[in-house]
């Protein structure tokens, strides 16, 4: 198809818009990286845009030598691994039996599970339950209560449905038990969906902070996002105080805060490019659910 000049010009305009979008996505990251590597004076003078001025690594050295950060990063990493494993086990245990159409009570189980997607008891009832169960300030509260997402379970079930029934039936005729079929047929064929959902769970845990904010007062068990939140709040309150006319209080410097943000972001940015295709296939699977 021969393209007219007008069409070509329009294509270039669209490409230009996309370039603007790319810049908009990358700009905040470049800015924060630049600030984390600059000297405090250069930042205060308003000289730092996208390239560090007065190059220094002090902030990174400070972050790495502060045991609060390193412990919190390590703890969040461990927590993420544990949560992902628990969540994937729960999701599989829930999704797999539900694909058996001969399973008695399946409709009831489905209704029970789906109902929780639309009606939620709310924050306070959950809080009081955890209190009664002794989960408050217990690290388990960051692992168990949100270990199973109905939405992800549906994605997994949809994937299981796409595996032909005939495979399962022939294995049944050969005398394989449901557990055996799960491990030797379904799980090996479901690697893409397992990868996708593991990533979603892992990112959710890495990024989660509200459960820790509400149910965990013990600072030792604070995940990195909550630590970051507390730092940010202390900084903005200083800024607010300054703006309201109080003398500027000496607080955590912008460089230090930027370095902390970089530390919490880098793990995501590192895994993202490699695992992108899984993320996308997961989003599409979610869209096609019925």
């Amino acid at each position: 198809m021969v393209k007219s000049k007008g069409t070509k010009a329009a294509d270039l305009v669209i490409a230009f818009i996309c370039v603007l979008l790319i810049i908009a996505c990358l700009l905040p990251m470049l800015n924060i990286a630049a600030r984390s590597l600059s000297s405090t004076e250069a930042i205060i003078r308003g000289e730092v845009l996208l390239w560090p001025k007065g190059w220094n690594l002090t902030a990174y050295r400070l972050v790495l030598s502060d045991s609060r950060y390193t412990w919190s990063l390590g703890w969040t990493a461990i927590l993420t691994v544990i949560c992902t494993f628990v969540s994937m086990t729960m999701t599989t245990l829930c999704a797999y039996p539900l694909i058996y159409d001969k399973l008695k009570g399946r409709r009831l189980f489905n209704t029970l599970i789906l109902f929780t997607m639309y009606f939620n008891a709310g924050t306070i009832p959950h809080y009081l339950l955890y209190k009664d169960l002794g989960l408050l300030n217990n690290p388990l509260v960051l692992i168990i209560p949100n270990s199973l997402s109905v939405f992800y379970m549906i994605i997994m079930r949809t994937f299981f449905y796409s595996i032909p029934d005939s495979l399962r039936e022939s294995a049944e005729i050969d005398g394989a038990s449901p557990v055996r079929i799960l491990f030797s047929i379904y799980l090996p064929l479901s690697k893409p969906v397992i990868a996708t959902l593991s990533l979603f769970y892992a990112v959710g845990r890495w990024n989660g902070f509200s459960d820790a904010l509400m149910y965990m007062n013990d600072r030792r068990w604070h995940p990195i996002q909550l630590l970051l939140y507390n730092i940010l709040k202390s900084i903005t309150s200083i800024e607010v105080a300054t703006q309201e006319g109080f003398a500027s209080a000496p607080g955590l410097s912008d460089t230090l805060q930027s370095a902390t943000v970089v530390f919490a972001t880098v793990p995501i940015l590192l895994v993202y490019p490699w695992l992108q295709k899984y993320f996308i296939s997961g989003a599409t699977l979610g869209a096609l659910k019925d």
């Binding site: 905040p28 008891a121 509200s210 903005t236 607010v240 703006q243 930027s258 943000v261």
Partner: protein, 312 residues
């Protein structure tokens, strides 16, 4: 067909022998749903009761006004009324600005003829979705600082006065919505782009032969192809017009913008978990849950009336 008793029992035994492991597997997630989703529902009654730390929920005394005291108190609480208004306002702005944005972007990406550049744009645009609101708040604080943030440096160099993007209610609402678009516009195109791949390419070829221009193709082929997806997502958004995010206003808000950043979820947190007014906060939470379900059902019914598939 009625089987003799012994045969029926034999088939039941066979059934169980075959499938007991499925029930064993399912029992763990079912226990999870009962403990962490259904038992909390029994605690909803504290919205109608006077909370007491020493008593079981079932034994607590009914609140005054036939148990409606805390609902009356909520609706005469200015903070709560503001929270309802803010929740509605922020969600409405998200809907008006944030909902069409990914559709427009998907249409643009679909028209982009440079395949590798298209893929690169997508990769970059999906990325902000994976950053938490805390991180985005950290990025925003540095980017928008009135004295030395990038935006205000540029504004100053262009001769404008600095704008308090995060510290003034009006600007804060604008920043809140904008950051929402920034985080999700790329990611939300995925659904639309997937829907676009289902459009029969022959339609485009036929349109090209008939001499249809770019806008005509979008108007008569692409948009109708996206319509079911758009309607489904619109129902969900309408249904969630009074549900509130927690992380986002918590992370972006501060005491200067409390008048607009205080939404229902943060109200429940401040009054319930920080202020220990459990009954009041539970009443507010129940109000929100019920309104959400009603809105979702109404939006779904509306969609069905317009001949769309709905969400259930």
């Amino acid at each position: 067909m009625a089987l003799p008793f012994s045969a029926r029992r034999r088939s039941a035994v066979n059934y169980l022998r075959k499938y007991w492991s499925l029930y064993a597997m399912l029992s763990i997630p079912l226990a999870y749903f009962i403990i962490f989703r259904y038992i909390p529902m029994t605690y909803i009654q504290i919205a109608f009761k006077r909370y007491s730390i020493v008593q079981n929920v079932w034994d607590m005394p009914l609140a005054r006004n036939n148990g409606l005291e805390y609902f009356i108190r909520a609706f005469s609480n200015r903070d709560f009324l503001y929270a309802v208004r803010n929740t509605f306002m922020l969600n409405f702005l998200d809907l008006v600005i944030g909902f069409p944005a990914p559709i427009i972007l998907a249409l643009l990406l679909n028209e982009l003829p440079y395949k590798r550049f298209k893929r690169f744009t997508q990769s970059v645009a999906y990325m902000p979705h994976f950053l938490s609101w805390i991180i985005i708040s950290g990025l925003a604080v540095q980017l928008f600082t009135p004295t030395n943030g990038l935006f205000n440096i540029v504004l100053k160099r262009l001769g404008f006065s600095p704008i308090p993007f995060l510290n003034h209610p009006t600007y804060w609402v604008f920043t809140y919505v904008l950051l929402g678009v920034w985080k999700n516009v790329g990611w939300n195109t995925i659904i639309y782009l997937a829907a676009l791949t289902n459009i029969n390419p022959e339609l485009y070829e036929a349109a090209a032969i008939d001499g249809a221009g770019r806008f005509q193709r979008i108007r008569y082929i692409t948009l109708p192809g996206l319509k079911p997806t758009i309607v489904t997502l619109l129902i969900l958004s309408l249904g969630h017009i009074l549900s509130s995010e927690f992380d986002r206003p918590m992370a972006l808000g501060n005491s200067l913008v409390h008048s607009v950043s205080n939404v229902i979820a943060t109200f429940v947190y401040t009054y319930g978990i920080r202020g220990l007014q459990f009954s009041l906060a539970a009443a507010v939470g129940l109000f929100q849950s019920v309104v959400c379900v009603v809105f979702l059902m109404a939006a779904n019914a509306l969609a069905k009336r317009f001949g769309e598939r709905g969400i259930w």
